[in-house]
């Protein structure tokens, strides 16, 4: 027995994608399995861990709580959009330098959450960073080095903005 397929058109990391999906395909599975973008991770599949975080129409979103069918016409950015091995985003560099990851499972979610925070609040306190990442669970680091990394990236980004201004 086959399920009804629905056509969707979605922009992912700047690329226009057209696919057919069954209604119950989760956005997290669509991104990983259909699009082979495995930077987005699936941790809990019920919206508590944040490993599946993507940016949907400009806002961080748990992709495990979104159906692919719902993003027809939308714009999505995954962690792959941040940078490349040879051209790291300042957040990625900071996580590297300040030991903001060990196993890396939570990291994509942390990076995108941090990106959204810093766009809204370029000079956060440690408490504000902790609050912002409170929906992203990490089993390895104890969070302090993640906060260190985000604070360092914030400073880098502020300095770059000043140079430009």
């Amino acid at each position: 027995m086959s399920e009804q397929k629905y056509p969707i058109k979605v922009t992912v990391n700047g690329r226009k994608i057209e696919r057919e999906v069954s209604a119950r395909m989760l956005l997290s599975d669509f991104i990983r399995q259909e699009l082979q973008l495995t930077g987005t991770h699936v941790g809990c599949e019920h919206g508590v861990c944040g490993a599946c975080t993507v940016i949907l129409d400009g806002r961080t979103t748990r992709s495990c709580l979104t159906f692919a069918i719902q993003v027809d016409g939308a714009e999505i950015s995954t962690v792959e959009s941040l940078g490349t091995v040879n051209n790291l985003h300042p957040l990625q560099s900071a996580f590297w330098e300040k030991h903001g990851l060990q196993c890396g499972f939570c990291t994509p979610g942390m990076l995108l959450t941090a990106k959204e925070l810093l766009a809204r609040n370029p000079d956060p306190t440690r408490e504000e960073v902790a609050e912002a990442i409170s929906g992203n669970l990490c089993r390895c680091t104890g969070y302090q080095t993640i906060i260190d990394s985000i604070m360092a990236a914030a400073e880098t980004l502020r300095n770059a903005a000043e140079v430009q201004a």
């Binding site: 119950r24 495990c64 979104t66 959450t113 409170s134």
Partner: protein
């Protein structure tokens, strides 16, 4: 795990939504933010046959003052209300409660009205609706009706909504701004649903409490006001002793739930502790209101 199969529709108008709901009585669910529904679907606790996606009804994403009410439409996201200067001005109790609601990504998609329809017994906003005596505007094909918050929350995940109805708007009386608000919550982690929370409003005139609304959540199968507690406050002068007394009485009068991270004895302790704290803050804030 993965959700069960369902049919999907994304109507463009409220009228289409209502017709779709009526076409599958009891078997259809609305999805807006999906932050409470989709986890249940992923666990297969919820298995709607038809999922009606209302996110195209962007006209319902509004919050504004209309006369003596703050009106909030069905598609208004938590993040909008949490960041809103208008909400801070007109309903500071809601603004304060929002500091305890979920996390960034959940607030970006989740809607106030969706949260109210989900009716989790430990959720913050149902208690805020009770304390503010909000009206919930519900619509079906047969028309609109206005449901007082006191009648809306009927049990665990149970509300006054008929299967063919949608919650389209919440109306919060604006007289609130003159009252003092206090909100206290204890949860396992910040952002979780509450083990116990207290949402209170106090009106003080000539040094005496002339109005009191105290709503609790996390202690029963639904958010609830405590009439005996409120009656114990009216006409009295605010004091630590008074607040401690009503908190202790409430903790004995209620029979708190004995589940999930907190047994009944701990919850009684939370009631005994959080009620006076919330009332103290509400009394301080009521005292600072301009007398105009």
């Amino acid at each position: 795990m993965k959700p069960a199969h369902f049919d999907y529709a994304r109507p463009r108008t409220l009228d289409e939504v209502l017709h779709l709901l009526a076409s599958r009585p009891g078997d259809a669910k609305l999805i807006a933010g999906g932050q409470s529904l989709v986890p249940m679907m992923n666990f297969r606790f919820a298995r709607p046959e038809l999922l009606i996606d209302v996110n195209a009804l962007t006209d319902l994403d509004y919050h504004r003052r209309e006369g003596d009410a703050l009106c909030i439409g069905a598609l208004t996201r938590h993040v909008t209300l949490r960041d809103s200067a208008l909400v801070r001005e007109l309903c500071p109790l809601m603004a304060e409660a929002y500091r305890h609601v979920a996390h960034v990504a959940v607030r970006n998609r989740g809607t106030l009205c969706g949260n109210l329809c989900h009716a989790d017994p430990a959720s913050e906003m149902p208690a805020v609706m009770l304390a503010t005596e909000a009206t919930l505007v519900v619509q079906g094909l047969s028309g609109r009706r206005q449901v007082p918050a006191a009648d809306f929350f009927q049990g665990v995940y149970a509300t006054a909504l008929e299967p063919d109805e949608m919650l389209v708007e919440v109306r919060i009386p604006v007289g609130q701004a003159r009252l003092g608000h206090g909100f206290e919550e204890v949860s396992v982690r910040k952002g979780d649903y509450a083990l116990t929370l207290v949402a209170s409003l106090l009106g003080i005139r000539n040094g005496r409490i002339e109005m009191a609304a105290v709503a609790l959540a996390g202690v029963a199968d639904r958010a609830m006001r405590v009439p005996t507690l409120e009656a114990g406050l009216l006409g009295k002068m605010p004091s630590d002793a008074l607040f401690a007394e009503v908190g202790a009485a409430a903790s004995l009068a209620l029979i708190p739930a004995d589940v999930d991270h907190a047994d009944a004895e701990y919850r009684r302790d939370l009631i005994r502790t959080l009620v006076p704290r919330a009332l103290t803050r509400a009394a301080e804030r009521a005292a600072f209101q301009p007398t105009a």
